[in-house]
Subunit: 286 residues, 2 copies
Amino acid sequence: MKVTIIGVGLIGGSLALSMRDNGISSSITGVDKDPENARKALELGLVDEIADMKEAVGGADLVVIATPVDSIPLIAVKLLNDIRPGQVVIDTGSIKTELSEVVRCHPNRGRLVATHPMWGTEYSGPQAAVKGAFRGRTVVICDREASDPDAVVLVEEVYSRIGMPVSYMSSEEQDLHSAYVSHISHITSFALALTVLEKEREEEHIFDLAGGGFESTVRLAKSSPQTWVPILLKNKYNVLDVLREHIHQLNIIRKLLERDQGRELAAAIEKANSISRIIDKKPNEK
Amino acid sequence: MKVTIIGVGLIGGSLALSMRDNGISSSITGVDKDPENARKALELGLVDEIADMKEAVGGADLVVIATPVDSIPLIAVKLLNDIRPGQVVIDTGSIKTELSEVVRCHPNRGRLVATHPMWGTEYSGPQAAVKGAFRGRTVVICDREASDPDAVVLVEEVYSRIGMPVSYMSSEEQDLHSAYVSHISHITSFALALTVLEKEREEEHIFDLAGGGFESTVRLAKSSPQTWVPILLKNKYNVLDVLREHIHQLNIIRKLLERDQGRELAAAIEKANSISRIIDKKPNEK
């Protein structure tokens, strides 16, 4: 199968590696509006060739849109405008409501399958692409009923060969879900990093942050504004909903500490412990 | 060297394994006020024998206090009361100000070296002990000048053979530092877990939380109240200081989102990115 990937960064590049390694693609063409990214992707062997959008899309069986989320809806519409029967388009964005609304009435809507492969790292660009990414992680397919059955079957087959179990949701459910499982964690990490940097400035003292749990909670703070500002703004209402609840929970803990309420603090922590019921489930128990 | 470890849980048990594996201990005696823990530690081979406190301490060259932080100061005083010349006591607690104050005027203060080996996991009990823990992580030695030089040399030697670089701080600095590098991360994780559990209840919908960054930021929420309530309460003023700043930073991000201030949000994220300057340093660059 001939694959074209638009946006050869962390996600697009890693997906290229996974598709080749799992025998899905016979050839991969990369498209990137940043010539430097395109050059690197070719140099790193993520893609077999670089082409401009029109040329790259014309000959492809599967086109993947892996650009920042704010650019996905317009690219999707342009691709659907010229799509040939049998071609399939997917996107890999972490929010879907706007995309779903923009393509809703397009006569070729069925050729698009909206997917969110739930994997990422705090790094970006082609040099951040990772072999064997995605395996074991869930991919969400949104609004399955709006896509042509043959397109859905092809996309399910692609992700299944990469090793990803498939979940189905509406775009609205997926965006709420992403706010909880991913977007809030990024905000928390950004805020934690800013907290430490603020204190560091006051203290004129470099913290030795090895160990202690800090690294794992703050790792995501290295994520780029180019990726995250569009995600947070486009998913603003869901993100604010979670963020307000999160601040509320932090204020509860703050008050328990201020009042030395050890028993109530223990009860809150015990309740928090039950998160293991959710995060320690094996995928096949879900 | 004969070692006695009081409290054979996650830290005490892992330290026992590290001491044996690095040829530090000729024998290890465990003490635990929970007979079930003691039995498990023996069964798992963490310690060579179990004894009561008096008997176990009498014959030891090095005594390690690895119990919850609220119990450390009194145990330390009792050990110092009966200590023989040449014996050394260390503790492994993550806060030190109270301990340091309690032992300050003790005639045998010099035999105690206050240490915080900066490693841990979200699990507890002897079954959570891990081989090869600690290696590469920093150990903080507090108020070095209050300990006898021979005791400090012995303790530095022990930690260096385990593979831990040593940092020196006052108890006050260490407690502030721990609030930033460890305690706040735990609070954030607890609050994040409570946020998701709250939403899950509203939605009657189980989130599929694989991938997406959530797991790494919420992992610490599995940590036990038995360990954490004493730490947070005993380090209350430092923790509240950081927590208030953290809530403040979250509120700044909330307002930027509410007002669609993408440029300012990007600037905040860019600033947060610079945390990599701190967390990506190699230990020998510090």
